[in-house]
């Protein structure tokens, strides 16, 4: 009798577990489908933004360069200059590429916490590059502007509101030798390497860094111009 009760109990829990599993699996499938749809939307929006920017640029070029209006030309030049300074222009130049990746495997004598890359590590690497005269920086294609955060979000790091997982590819344009010296001899890189975190630094003559691609209103909506 005892046996009978046990067997039936076992049978029932297995059954109900199976039912539960299919339910949550279904849920996961649904969420995945929604997510891929949103990613499609994202890509088409990005494409549209690029097209609209190109259209605007072409329009301005046509309407300003065709005219002999010095003031208009000056205005356009100021705008281009300000955009370059704000990080709203794709740029190229020489510099360094820094690749960061978590340690390849757990090691008995190292704390798992120490062998993965944290937000402050990325912040410090960027800070070193800035101190070494970087004029433009990107991480995994996200342009770093004055308000760009690098903050832990679960197993990923949030940059310009977008999340990225390892590996991190940091590009910086500046004087390649100064940047290389500054970053390769930095304390932060020494510490990371001590914990077996993979750091790869290479100089390059041909670095392209994209413009900031987020919504610009979010950068100025709370700001009022202070007139002296």
């Amino acid at each position: 009798m005892f046996l009978g009760v046990l067997i039936s109990l076992q049978f029932r829990t297995t059954l109900s577990a199976n039912r539960q599993k299919t339910y949550s699996e279904l849920n996961i499938e649904k969420l995945k489908a929604q997510l891929s749809e949103e990613i499609n939307i994202e890509n088409s929006l990005k494409k549209s933004i690029d097209e609209n920017e190109a259209k605007k640029e072409a329009y301005l070029k046509m309407n300003i360069e065709s005219k002999n209006d010095e003031y208009l030309k000056q205005l356009k030049k100021s705008l281009d200059d300000a955009k370059l300074k704000a990080g709203l222009t794709d740029v190229k130049g020489s510099g360094v590429v820094v690749k960061l990746d978590d340690a390849p495997a757990r090691t008995a004598n190292l704390d798992p916490w120490d062998i993965i890359i944290h937000d402050i590590d990325v912040v410090k690497v960027l800070n070193k590059l800035k101190a070494a005269g970087a004029q433009a920086i990107s991480i995994n294609g996200e342009r770093i502007i004055s308000t760009s955060e690098q903050i832990c979000a679960g197993p990923t790091i949030r940059i310009n509101k977008n999340r990225y997982a390892v590996p991190y590819e940091i590009k910086a344009i500046g004087d390649p030798n100064t940047l290389y010296e500054g970053i390769s001899k930095s304390e932060i890189v020494a510490i990371l390497q001590e914990f077996k975190i993979r750091v790869e630094i290479t100089k390059s003559d041909n670095i392209i860094i994209p413009k900031f691609k987020g919504n610009l209103d979010n950068l100025v909506s709370a700001l009022e111009v202070e007139k002296k």
Binding site: L35, E38, I49, S146
Partner: protein, 234 residues
């Protein structure tokens, strides 16, 4: 006869034991699967939320560009209109670049040394990063505007260098941002404030309605672009 009964009881006990163990293993396994799947569902929900919010932002940016294009289109041939549009855009880009003094509602964070510990670059970087993560739109440190290329480093034992300028404690960080949001982020358990206070540094938070943040020093040393070549769009 007795021996058979003993064997029977032993058998039953062994069977019972196996069944119990099996039952236990299967339940704990189910729980493991369930908790993994719950976590996966939560992660996905989170990702979806982030993605949707990002798309809202992109949509806004796209709408805005379309509006600008329409305005330029309408101004075709009308130079005063084109000038007006250009000026509007220029002003906004200059604000984004940090080339304009700005004011707004925000928070003032003062960090000071104590007898034993002094503020170092990591402390400042942590606070700045947390402010950026809380959507601050303009930040200054002892009236040096923080821009994309602003570095923070220690110089000697008591100076902090920002934008190539040396400064001493107390460090006053001003940010135009939602004060409540910033406070929540800074005061998080295990957060930045806790770390600063662990070193017994003096930290003071004050929200204010009218914070003025100066523009970046405009002598060409903070924002340099001489090594950048603009890539024209295809």
């Amino acid at each position: 006869m007795k021996i058979y009964r003993n064997i029977a009881i032993t058998l039953v006990c062994v069977l019972l034991g196996i069944m119990l163990a099996w039952q236990y293993a299967s339940i704990s396994n189910n729980q493991k699967i369930a908790s993994y799947e719950n976590k996966r569902t939560d992660d996905l929900k989170n990702e979806l939320l982030v993605e949707k919010k990002k798309n809202d932002d992109l949509r806004k940016r796209n709408d805005e560009l379309e509006k600008e294009n329409r305005e330029y289109e309408e101004a075709r041939g009308d130079d005063t209109k084109t000038v007006e549009n250009l000026k509007k855009e220029l002003e906004r880009v200059r604000i984004i670049a940090g080339l304009v003094d700005v004011k707004g509602k925000g928070i003032i964070i003062t960090i000071d040394n104590n007898d034993v510990a002094s503020v170092d670059d990591t402390d400042i970087l942590n606070v700045l990063n947390e402010l950026r993560a809380s959507d601050a739109q303009a930040i200054s440190l002892n009236d040096e505007r923080i821009v994309a290329t602003s570095e923070v480093r220690v110089a000697g034992t008591k100076y902090i260098m920002v934008n190539g300028r040396q400064m001493l404690a107390p460090f006053v960080i001003k940010a135009i941002a939602e004060p409540e949001k910033v406070e929540r982020a800074l005061k998080m358990i295990g957060g930045v404030l806790e770390k600063l206070e662990a070193y017994q540094l003096k930290v003071e938070l004050k929200s204010a309605d009218n914070i003025v943040i100066p523009k970046v020093r405009d002598d060409g040393t903070v924002i340099r672009t001489d090594l950048l070549t603009p890539v024209t769009s295809k």
